[in-house]
């Protein structure tokens, strides 16, 4: 866990409002695990004030390069989109707990929308997981995922690429094939996956999102409901990846 000014190697749009940014950091890429995140300062002034959590999407340890994938949705991410190669960003990381890697289990990965971000490096590390990805209309990072697995299912809501529909549908059919499911995406989707896996007694890991302050466990603002009703978990340091049994997603 460090705070470092990292050089930006590239930063461009890969789909409407979705950007891919490659940064250079030997030290972060040496340590980082799939599912961990970076906490990045969008501005040197005080508005926006806080850092933004962005997952590690991919990583080349030998080159000291980390790929991020982000969707522009507010002040911070739109400042990110204006960053030019050669600029530097103030980055803390790697932060949080990543996905546990089970190489000898039957694993599957499911991602929805920008939730695919933390799953690419995971796919690489797992080597032979089945992959289910869902998008609204435009797809992205498909080739990169394809190079990690032969069994990959692509869905779009309007059917413009891959099959029409939602990846949950396919996962539901195949759930009995897996020992472990890894997921990231909208809260509703995570909630459904949690239910599906628990019903089928499949181990399940979810990457969660909450607004953050410090990003390291000191401020207690990133609380998410623990399955123990008496307490909250900290998404930044207890997570962002949780075993589905640790957390409650009912609101």
């Amino acid at each position: 866990m460090k705070r470092e000014f990292c050089k930006i190697l590239s930063n461009y749009e890969v789909a409407d409002a979705v950007y891919k940014m490659v940064i250079e950091s030997k030290s972060i890429s040496k340590e980082a695990l799939p599912g961990q995140f970076l906490h990045i300062k969008p501005s040197q002034n005080y508005d926006p004030l806080l850092r933004r959590p962005i997952s590690i999407c991919d990583l080349e340890q030998d080159k000291g390069r980390i790929t991020l994938l982000y969707r522009v949705c507010g002040k911070g991410t739109s400042l990110f989109s204006g960053i030019k190669p050669g600029d530097y960003l103030d980055i803390m990381g790697p932060l949080g707990k990543g996905f546990p890697i089970f190489e000898n289990k039957r694993t599957s990965i499911i991602g929805g929308g920008i939730g695919v971000a933390p799953l690419l490096y995971l796919s690489k590390r797992l080597k032979k997981a089945d992959i289910y990805l869902g998008f609204k209309d435009e797809v992205y990072m498909i080739e990169e995922f394809m190079s990690c697995s032969d069994d990959i299912y692509i869905y779009t809501e309007n059917g413009s690429r891959g099959s029409k529909g939602y990846p949950m549908e396919a996962l539901e059919k195949n759930i009995s094939f897996y020992d472990v499911v890894y997921a990231c995406g909208p809260r509703k989707m995570l909630s459904a996956i949690k239910r599906l896996c628990e019903k089928n007694q499949v181990e399940c890991y979810l990457s969660m999102e909450e607004r953050m302050g410090c990003g390291i466990g000191a401020c207690l603002v990133c609380a998410c409901q623990s399955s123990n009703i008496e307490e909250y978990k900290k998404v930044c340091s207890d997570g962002p990846v949780f075993n589905s049994k640790e957390v409650s997603l009912d609101d």
Partner: protein, 305 residues
């Protein structure tokens, strides 16, 4: 020779840079970034007699140059603090300030008594806007501040800091009440009461409706309040509220603060306290200042051990 030390209630802080309660957890996390003994002192997360779960999320919202928080004093309770958190803190040669909140005067007193030999300072939080009971209700009337301070004063013999709420008409009245009741030091400001609305869902953003505003946005208000209090009391002042860089820190010391405390800045810059300390030191060297108290501009009162 420059000497950065300052005294509060007869106890020495090796320098005037502290970190604020609730923004630094129980310090473990920041120990990964620098040696904690560099700090003048650490105010730990506010504790209550019994453990508290805290408020339902969302708990934070960014505002222009600030944040609103609604943590609601999530903490492991007094015993949890003493058992699980304090041992780690005690490994460092750094003064620990226990920040306490109670529902009743008796609770405050009991906590102070139990903490007496375990920590270096007690900070009475009479100003948390994020909990229904206790907290801010004590902090907006001079009489209640007087009473709670007076009782807690009896329960402990370590230096007693009273932390004031900025949500009042005249903060110097509150400070004078605390001084009269035997406080050794005033710390200010806690968060300002603010609010946000989730317009897409047509409801207040926080379950509690109001939340506490902190960060650079509030600095001009905090600085004014430190100045006002410095005109009226003769005990040391810990100034805080939006301090983000060494220039801010010098402003607070000039306004009358004996020590300063870093809160929200820790979130976006984990090294803020050490960078600010370095800045203060360089400022003093450059301007031939031997002690932080010489920085105060007249109107501020100077304390000696």
């Amino acid at each position: 020779m420059i000497d950065l030390s300052v005294y509060i209630g007869g106890k020495k802080l090796k320098n005037p840079v502290l970190v604020s309660s609730g923004t630094f957890g129980f310090a473990k996390e920041y120990a990964n970034f620098y040696d904690l003994k560099l700090l003048g002192g650490i105010a730990v997360k506010g504790i209550t007699l019994k453990p508290r779960k805290g408020n339902k999320p969302p708990r934070i919202m960014e505002t222009p140059a600030g944040i609103l928080n609604s943590v609601g004093l999530e903490n492991p309770g007094l015993d949890g603090f003493l058992e699980k958190e304090l041992p780690f803190l005690r490994k460092y040669d750094v003064p620990i300030i226990a920040n306490i909140s109670g529902n009743t005067i008796e609770e405050y007193s009991l906590m102070a008594e139990k903490l007496n030999e375990h920590v270096d300072f007690i900070e009475l939080n009479v100003s948390c806007p994020n909990v229904k009971e206790g907290g801010i209700t004590f902090g907006t009337k001079p009489e209640s501040i007087y009473e709670v301070t007076k009782e807690v004063r009896k329960a402990t013999n370590i230096p007693l800091i009273v932390k004031l709420s900025p949500n009042v008409t005249d903060i110097s009245e509150m400070a004078m009440a605390a001084e009269k009741a035997g406080a050794d030091c005033i710390s200010l400001i806690n968060t300002l009461m603010g609010m946000a609305i989730d317009i897409d869902n047509r409801k207040p953003f926080f379950h509690n409706i109001v939340a506490g505003l902190s960060g650079p946005a509030i600095k001009p208000i905090a600085l004014r309040m430190v100045w006002q209090v410095a005109q009226k009391v003769n005990i040391p002042i810990i100034g805080m509220g939006g301090i983000s860089n060494w220039r801010d820190a010098i402003e607070f010391i000039m306004a009358g603060a004996d020590a300063i405390s870093i809160g929200t800045a820790n979130f976006y810059n984990p090294l803020a306290p050490v960078e600010i300390l370095k800045g203060i030191e360089e400022y003093m060297i450059k301007n031939n200042i031997n002690s932080p108290k010489e920085i105060k501009i007249n109107g501020g009162v100077v304390y000696h051990e």
